[in-house]
């Protein structure tokens, strides 16, 4: 049975539907990311789990119990806010101890657990600092310790890393993953950063305009995007207009001068999408002219003008000679590297 279950959740503000028909089953100890652009409803969904907002429709269950019937103060969830929302008039230790105080944990045990929580996030010795005297990364760690010290049933992270600089963000990602693996708390992360979602989560929920576009492992969502939105939101991609010709046997999938045996099911106008790193230069395939060639250390980035529109190609810098700008090349890829959708390219 699922540990945390969201069933047909919807949230409306007046006439505006912010989240619609959101269903998800989270296993115990799983790390889930809600990924999408701002305004896609991911934070609203998180706030409904936290209890700061009530869903208009649908049910949220934790271990089979109806969570929406429980007051937010009694849900026992750990939350890390985007702004950290630390209590500025309390020291780091007092911040972390607050949740334990509210649970009437005896003083001796409280001190011990606060010390352990701060040590876990690498802030041993910072007990008496006030938040204003700490760096953004340190504040972030205090917020994490404060959320984890109460041993929450679910840890909710609302864009916790978006206020950190790139290098610190990467460090915190690794650390967050390690801490989560060690203590095994079921975690839901809200983010708009696809790299963050991919490097941290077991499964990603890609959202757009209040609806779920796809639920899958990072690899699945990247390699088998369920919609044009997913393929474009998760990394760079090439969408080519193609047609499936079933008049001759065997049926062929044709994109410009590239063709392959047609997959079963679809026919007529379709869209094929291929990741830039899966396209190679060959003797046959889509005819294209290289417009720009950019050297990026470990790889080359090519912008091409192909017969099916602009195309991006990434090639490993493996020492081979690469085509120059202005050169005409043929683009080819393996049929298993592309995904075909029965919709005309936009």
């Amino acid at each position: 049975m699922a540990y945390l279950e969201l069933e047909g959740i919807a949230k409306q503000f007046g006439a505006q539907t912010v989240v619609d028909d959101f269903s998800l089953a989270v296993g115990k100890g799983e790390f889930i990311s809600f990924l999408g652009p701002s305004g896609c409803g991911k934070t609203t969904t998180l706030q409904m789990i936290a209890g700061f907002l009530d869903p208009t429709r649908g049910a949220i269950r934790l271990e089979g119990k109806d969570l929406t019937a429980i007051h937010p103060a009694k849900r026992g969830l750990g939350i890390v806010f985007q702004s950290y929302a630390l209590f500025p008039h309390m020291t780091a230790a007092e911040n972390v101890a607050f949740g334990l105080e509210m649970r009437n944990v005896p003083r001796g045990e409280r001190t011990e657990r606060v010390r352990a929580a701060l040590a876990m996030v690498g802030l041993a010795g910072y007990e008496d600092r006030h938040p204003r005297r700490m760096s953004g990364g340190q504040q972030q760690r205090v917020a994490l310790a404060r959320a984890l010290v109460i041993k929450p049933s679910v840890l909710l992270l609302d864009e916790p890393l978006s206020n950190l600089d790139a290098k610190l963000r990467e460090e915190m990602q690794i650390e967050l993953r390690q801490i989560q693996r060690t203590i095994g708390t079921t975690t839901i992360l809200v983010t708009h950063d696809q790299n963050e979602a991919m490097s941290l989560s077991d499964r990603i929920v890609v959202m757009s305009q209040g609806r779920i576009e796809q639920i899958g492992t990072p690899q699945e969502t990247y390699e088998k995007p369920a919609s044009a939105f997913v393929s474009q939101f998760l990394g760079k991609t090439n969408d080519f207009a193609a047609t499936i010709d079933r008049t001759s046997a065997p049926a062929r999938l044709i994109a410009g001068s590239w063709s392959a045996p047609a997959p079963a099911g679809l026919s007529g106008a379709v869209t094929v999408s291929i990741r830039p790193e899966r396209i190679g230069f060959g003797d046959a395939g889509l005819t294209a002219k290289i417009v720009t060639r950019i050297f990026q250390g470990n790889h080359w980035l090519f912008q091409c003008d192909s017969e099916c529109g602009p195309a991006t190609v990434i090639r490993q810098n493996d020492g081979e000679r690469q085509p120059a700008e202005g050169e005409t090349v043929r683009l080819a890829w393996r049929p298993e590297d592309m995904s075909v959708r029965g919709e005309a390219a936009a």
């Binding site: 936290a50 209890g51 700061f52 937010p72 103060a73 009694k74 849900r75 026992g76 969830l77 750990g78 939350i79 806010f81 985007q82 702004s83 950290y84 929302a85 630390l86 209590f87 500025p88 008039h89 607050f98 949740g99 509210m102 649970r103 006030h130 204003r132 005297r133 404060r146 959320a147 109460i150």
Partner: protein, 291 residues
Amino acid sequence: MSTAAEERGVRAPWALTAPALMLFVGVLLIPLAMTVMLSFHDWGQYKGIEPVFILKNWYEIVTDPYYAEMFWRTFRIALLTTLLTAVLGAPEAYILNRMSGRWKSVFLLVVLGPLLISVVARTLGWALLFGGNNGLVNKLLMSAGVIRAPIPFMFTETGMVVALAHVMMPFMVLSVWAALQRLDPQIENAALSLGAGPVTIIRRIIMPQIMPGVLSGAIIVFSLSASAFATPAIIGGRRLKVAATLAYDEFLNTLNWPLGAAVATLLLAALVLIVVGSNALIERRYAEVFR
């Protein structure tokens, strides 16, 4: 950099601030210095002001218990007014801050209302409600049998505190409101998620953070109430004088300008001491938390 340019760099700020500085010196510092000097001059019923240096006025203020009573009353009224505005104004600001857009602007106007009405109209309004047997509220309560005798309001310290608190309220509300605006909008949710109830949230999380706002509002209200003139003059009249009305009477009724100047100077000095002192205390207390 050449010396000439360097010199210009030094002079430029002075040149730019000169107009404002001259106004400041001309209309504030010089009259102030003249008032201080005036307080050391002599005065007689028939000889008028004599420009000599004596301590007569100061000696009179220090030794005559009449003046001590007057100053104690002034600061007692100012302190009670400050407490009243803090106790009512802080919750008012909190509620105002939580209101939605349209209601917020309506009630902000209500809060600012007293400042928009002339002090005379406002204070006489209080007199119409509570003034003796003919006050509207007194009449109503007496005819309903709630009270036998009219609630004393005019010529009482209570009346002065209420009327002053009424007009000082906006300063407290705005000051606390500014502190509330600096609060992290998620801070209440953070406390909520950790298991805190509404009372605990206000007492442990909100109150300590808006305290600097309450205190700075208190400084404004206290100094304005202690030096207030019009409201005490209308409510207290000649029967219940405070430092400001006392100085006024000395200047314009007794025509003893030097004594009035001494009262005014003492009031100013006491206020500056209290305000600067409490401000320093507050800054030291909250230095660690709010930089």
